[in-house]
Symmetry: C2
Subunit: 294 residues, 2 copies
Amino acid sequence: MAEPMFERAAFIGIGLIGSSLARLMKRDGLARHVVAVARNEKTRATALELGVVDEATADIAHAVRGADLVMVCTPIGAYADVAAAFGPHLAKGCVVSDVGSVKQAVLRDLGPHLPDGVHLVPGHPVAGTEHSGPESGFAELFEGRWCILTPPPGTDPAAVEKIAELWRRAGSNVEMMDAHHHDKVLAITSHLPHLIAYTIVGTATDVETALRQEVIKFSAGGFRDFTRIAASDPVMWRDIFLNNREAVLEMLQRFSEDLTALQRSIRWGEGEKLEDLFSRTRAIRRSIIDAKQA
Amino acid sequence: MAEPMFERAAFIGIGLIGSSLARLMKRDGLARHVVAVARNEKTRATALELGVVDEATADIAHAVRGADLVMVCTPIGAYADVAAAFGPHLAKGCVVSDVGSVKQAVLRDLGPHLPDGVHLVPGHPVAGTEHSGPESGFAELFEGRWCILTPPPGTDPAAVEKIAELWRRAGSNVEMMDAHHHDKVLAITSHLPHLIAYTIVGTATDVETALRQEVIKFSAGGFRDFTRIAASDPVMWRDIFLNNREAVLEMLQRFSEDLTALQRSIRWGEGEKLEDLFSRTRAIRRSIIDAKQA
């Protein structure tokens, strides 16, 4: 086993993403000691029992004391509170990172609470499943996926490289991006799709009880794929939408316009327009397969 | 091998669904002779080379002559034309069925062309993939899935039972339903989801070229799941929307209302409403897993 990259890695929150990264760091000896902070006693017990971490605690100050890596893995809405709690206890040279799906909010919510000499390197592994909790994590989750880092200008290059190397060890391809641009791209590729999936699952099941049973029974025709996406963690996604409001609303507006146009084509029987769009979207699928992201 | 259920089975169209059923019937000896009609020479050659059928022809009258089963597997928009072509050549006692995703249109388009003594048993196997063509079919496609039959009142019970038995042999669970009700249920579980997927893939890729590359690159965050659905056959889906117009537009209207409400919640920061919906949709996923349709 190689020399550990970190002496003490503190995970603030140990859900699907946190526990997957913690498992990997334990498996590959990337940190000498891995500690998780979780408010919920059952979560702490599960993380310990499964060997995801060496230590689990509710005491955030204790967890980060002496840590050279603090990885924030809570829903985004909790960032400001946890940073206020751990900020004063950070050691000089510590690298603070996160795994949140919105990146401008990280600078806003974590930044003000970090003392001088602590490095902030926000990150976003573009990976996940619809399951939550430490029992859902697995060390291979990040293999072949992208991890986007959005360090603000002037961030210590050594700190950035350390986080980049961590994700490369996890099997990910690392990409640097401006936080504003990240939030725009992800609004398209992730936030809008989730919003639409949540909506359609709501719409399709807001029907009389008998029909609802049939909707579930015959879901294999397309609906069930949306239910998988719409089973993602409710609090995490609430916070994503509230914290990437502008970019999401902008994309939602475009989507609504396109949907209205399609609705009109169906109403007026404009088959050619439908076929044109459907042929174009089929070609997009091929691009994704070619990019090995299918 | 058991006694064949049919002497001569004629497939009108031999794409994903037709070729999957034809493969199964050949594999299990369910028909003594399986013949496919395809306009495209390459399709006929592929179907023959892969051993999907015993015979492939462009001559629809020849194909159905002497057939005791005619299975229509073309896009729905072609039904009236193919029925006009094969209708006069059908033998008494022949059972005509289909695999289309819209069922009221079948009675409208096939019905008038069938001579007396021929039985019409419309069917819809709720199964599929995003691929098309005879090379994409496989005999196991229907295993554990539902097949919905919508015979009009007064249909010969023996003919209905024969088609039901065919699908049971394919591994499907058979359900009887009124055609109008079928079209309403499928508008929710299949047609609306496809329409939304087509729209979002169009919206997300109608952006400047540089951004479009990034959308493809970072598609793993949710978008790629929609691209799979939006890669389904363009002509087949054009015809589904044009032939189930009312039910699709009705569901689309409900969806738009729900989306507008959600948009408003994001704009005004109503976190509780978002979380409520997302928790509700997560529970739906569990129902689908419990119903073994996940």
